[in-house]
Symmetry: C2
Subunit: 310 residues, 2 copies
């Protein structure tokens, strides 16, 4: 019998923060680990949790806040790495019609991706004494920018270095109201992107999980240490990324790539409190939610480079 490739389902169509993963693929880092790894893209990001949670794929990416929802719904998944740290995210609008504070939401139609964006908006409104009936939350999936362009929404929720730049590119300028600042979160870690796997896959193929993490770490190191070379490589092997907009977004995203893929316990604890507050989960036991045991730990000084971003 032929062996199946290991499947890794992205959380979004291919975008900037997937760069180190794409690079690890086309530079043969997975292959060098003896892995046949297939990268898949979702057409609806809301499908991802249930697919990996029912073993439709081996691995997937998902924001930290979704990992709590996954466990709550009975999907036995666990984060084995964090690939993208704390990207600033919030309510994105054009600079002309800028939403600069929670009260500006009144009378507006706000696009959100899948499910929890609406919870976040309602939480913001509640914390700032804004009537939840005074704005409209509209589910737009991956199409926030189109929904704005077509006039279906007045603003949409997204990540600054991805959708914020996208809007700037289309509309000339953009404004973002950072959710971490107005929701008293301390940082944007609820939006950090984790690599998650089904518990059974982890138990059955721990060596494969370890090998995937090693290859990804290699992709991260290469990307952060050699951003220009990494970008050129990506543009050749993923032609649809060969746009000025992607290049700009790539460089803006560099500070958030996680070199060692470490799950930061402080961040998980913060997101747990947030998820609890949003009503996304009841159980905030973190013990089974993430692990760093599959990562190559390095002496801290190896983190340092004189090149790359930061």
């Amino acid at each position: 019998m032929l062996s199946s490739p290991i499947t890794l389902l992205l959380n979004w169509h291919v975008t900037t923060y997937h760069a180190p993963i794409l690079l690890a693929k086309t530079m043969g880092f997975f292959e060098a680990e003896g892995l046949d790894l297939a990268i898949l893209e979702p057409s609806d990001p809301s499908d991802v949790t249930k697919i990996v949670g029912t073993r439709g794929v081996n691995l997937a990416l998902k924001a930290l806040v979704h990992c709590f929802a996954a466990r709550e719904r009975g999907y036995p998944v666990k984060a084995v790495a964090t690939v993208f740290d704390e990207p600033p995210s919030g309510v994105i609008s054009t600079s002309e019609q800028a939403i600069k504070s929670v009260v500006d939401l009144a009378g507006k139609r706000i696009g959100y991706v899948g499910e929890f964006g609406k919870y976040m908006l309602n939480d913001l409104a509640m914390r700032h004494n804004l009537d939840q009936g005074s704005y409209e939350a509209i589910r737009v999936g991956m199409h926030g920018i189109n929904a704005l362009a077509s006039g279906r929404v007045d603003a949409f929720m997204g990540i600054n270095c991805i959708q914020g730049l996208e809007l700037e590119h289309c509309a000339g300028s953009a404004h973002m109201l950072r959710i971490d600042e107005i929701a008293d979160l301390g940082c944007c870690c609820f939006c950090s992107i984790a690599l998650i796997a089904h518990d059974d896959f982890i138990v059955e193929q721990p060596d494969a999980v370890r090998a995937v993490c090693r290859a990804l770490q290699r992709g991260m190191h290469y990307t952060v240490d050699n951003p220009h070379e990494a970008l050129e490589h990506l543009k050749i092997h993923w032609p649809r990324l060969n746009t000025p907009h992607f290049s700009k977004s790539f460089f803006c995203s560099l500070p958030y790539f996680s070199r060692h893929l470490e799950n930061v316990s402080r961040d998980w604890a913060k997101v747990a409190s947030y998820a609890l507050r949003l009503g996304i989960c009841q159980n905030t036991d973190l013990a089974d939610l993430y692990t760093n045991e599959f990562l190559v730990s390095s002496s801290a000084s190896c983190n340092i480079t004189t090149r790359g971003a930061l």
Copy 2:
């Protein structure tokens, strides 16, 4: 011979992010650990590193970025905890004369605290192709707000939930240009506040270090879990904090208090790269720079509470 109290030198005159420390003092948490701990305030924050680095005091607070400078200058100090995580910081100005991007620095006089603020400004200018001669950096110590009020500077560097609110309080509104966003840092961890000690003190009195950390953790837990009670207690025992401005700043600072005082390796690595880039240090070996060995580690789920500010 009478025993000496353990001295803890703050990094600044008493301000919001010292709340859990003050609370641990007046609620007797240090005493309960058998400690006689004295809290000292500096008149010039630039003195702190050399005082603790020459054993003038036992313990001190200092931002992460200064810890690299301390080692570089031969002061054998080590961070034994991080007490305040990633407070958003940047260039603070009035909303009327808002500095909204690096180019707006041109023609302006910018106040900075002690030494490295100037390096940060120059780094921002270089990264954004702004001539370093086009703005003036003026050392203002702890007096940024007065320097602005007296017209000596047009803006000053500070933390949003402290000096940003202070300016808002005085001038009606304030604007901050976040340094992490424009310097590609990924987060404001360079401004996180660490508890540092001389290596010899750590070797001679490890139990005292451990006891101080335990008492501080208790102060943190109390503050985050019972912010209203904590504030009332502080207002009674530190009457000069009994102002509407302090209360506002206290609640805005809650998300940044570190419940478990953990040094986050990711953050230290990021700040190491930044310090290297700024020319603050040559040596980025993190091995001797911080340790978590004196902290009570807790199961991650203990981080969670349904009360407090996330």
